[in-house]
Symmetry: C2
Subunit: 210 residues, 2 copies
């Protein structure tokens, strides 16, 4: 399977398509056309076909895609046919929200550890996972085979936490802090800066009011 040079936007849409396919499965739908997927998620059907074409031939012309098969393929492409263990650093509001977020629980991700520096919350639990002191980070990453770190600490602490995660062997980081972080080339970093998303809205709103 040729999966190099897939645009990031395509991968994000695959994730969204797969979510939509799951809705269809829940609704008992068995086949779907690219046009129906397109309408369901708000892109063009040409875009759906182009995105899926990166990964070979799915579906049958005139018949469409078998929902369950396509869903299974997308899960595999997205790396969701296995388990990924997550460590959350920062058990404040945002970290807690992330820990309790239901959207990914059935999609291959397990929250294996939650760390904080605040002694008032260390020892309490979030969704069955105990909040532990930051000092145990390296040990937990190793013994729980953790590959994904989620950073929900205040901005000034974010780079130090990143360095700790990298040193402990974490290979992918989701950064919620409003800070530009540095990581080595072999570590994947995604910034989920809430501001960036909000500022995309203000950009388009301002555009309409110029």
């Amino acid at each position: 399977m040729k999966v190099f040079k897939i645009p990031e936007a395509t991968v994000m849409r695959l994730s969204i398509y797969s979510r939509y396919l799951r809705q269809l499965i829940e609704e008992g739908v068995e086949t779907v056309s690219s046009g129906e997927i397109a309408a369901g998620v708000g892109v063009s059907s040409a875009q759906v076909r182009k995105d899926l074409a990166y990964f070979g031939e799915f579906g049958t012309r005139g018949v469409g895609y078998k929902v369950e098969d396509l869903y299974g393929c997308l899960l595999k492409i997205l790396g969701l046919d296995r388990r990924w263990n997550i460590i959350i650093i920062g058990a404040g509001k945002l970290g807690s929200a992330f820990a309790l977020y239901q959207g990914f629980l059935d999609r291959g991700f397990t929250i294996s550890a939650i760390m904080d520096v605040d002694e008032k919350i260390i020892g309490s639990e979030l969704d069955g996972v105990k909040i532990e002191p930051l000092e145990l980070l390296q040990q937990r990453v190793t013994e729980k085979n953790i590959t994904v770190g989620v950073i929900t600490v205040p901005a000034p602490a974010a780079q130090d936490v990143t360095d700790l995660l990298v040193a402990s062997g974490v290979k992918a980081i989701l950064n919620f802090s409003p800070r530009v972080l540095k990581v080595p080339n072999d570590v994947i970093l995604r910034n989920v800066d809430l501001s960036v998303n909000l500022e995309l809205l203000s950009f388009y709103l301002a555009l309409n009011n110029r």
Copy 2:
């Protein structure tokens, strides 16, 4: 200023550049080159120059950009030279985290209203804003001149809440629910699905382990 057909990825990078420039201002830095911005945020310097070129000539060859001036220009481009009023629907963990998030407080956004359906939390406050019943949505949007809606309700309620926001005149929506939403063409929708971001990581992790 020609601002049509700007790629979304460019707008997102402008937001990140502007954040980095603010860091530089805090550090007392007065001028910066495209190479330094590039290194600071982890893109190529050609990318920085290309992104900025959409909006005309900034900077001086061999001297670079005046940090304060460029920051001011970017804020204007991003529509952050004015105030945007936000309504949050859903005051659970995620809504609360968003309401208390510090990243955008000084960037032109004001949380003007927070709604929920849970009588146990209606009447309590989040960062000085009272949580009110969903029935007051239309009224609050009108009287507080709200243009941005943030959806942090469970997935099954998301489309109904979206329809309410659209009917009340909100023109931009940030959707955190793991649900594909439908909006009219004149409403801007951004999905900040935490799963999508996590699944980008698993895609790349799986790619390295195929």
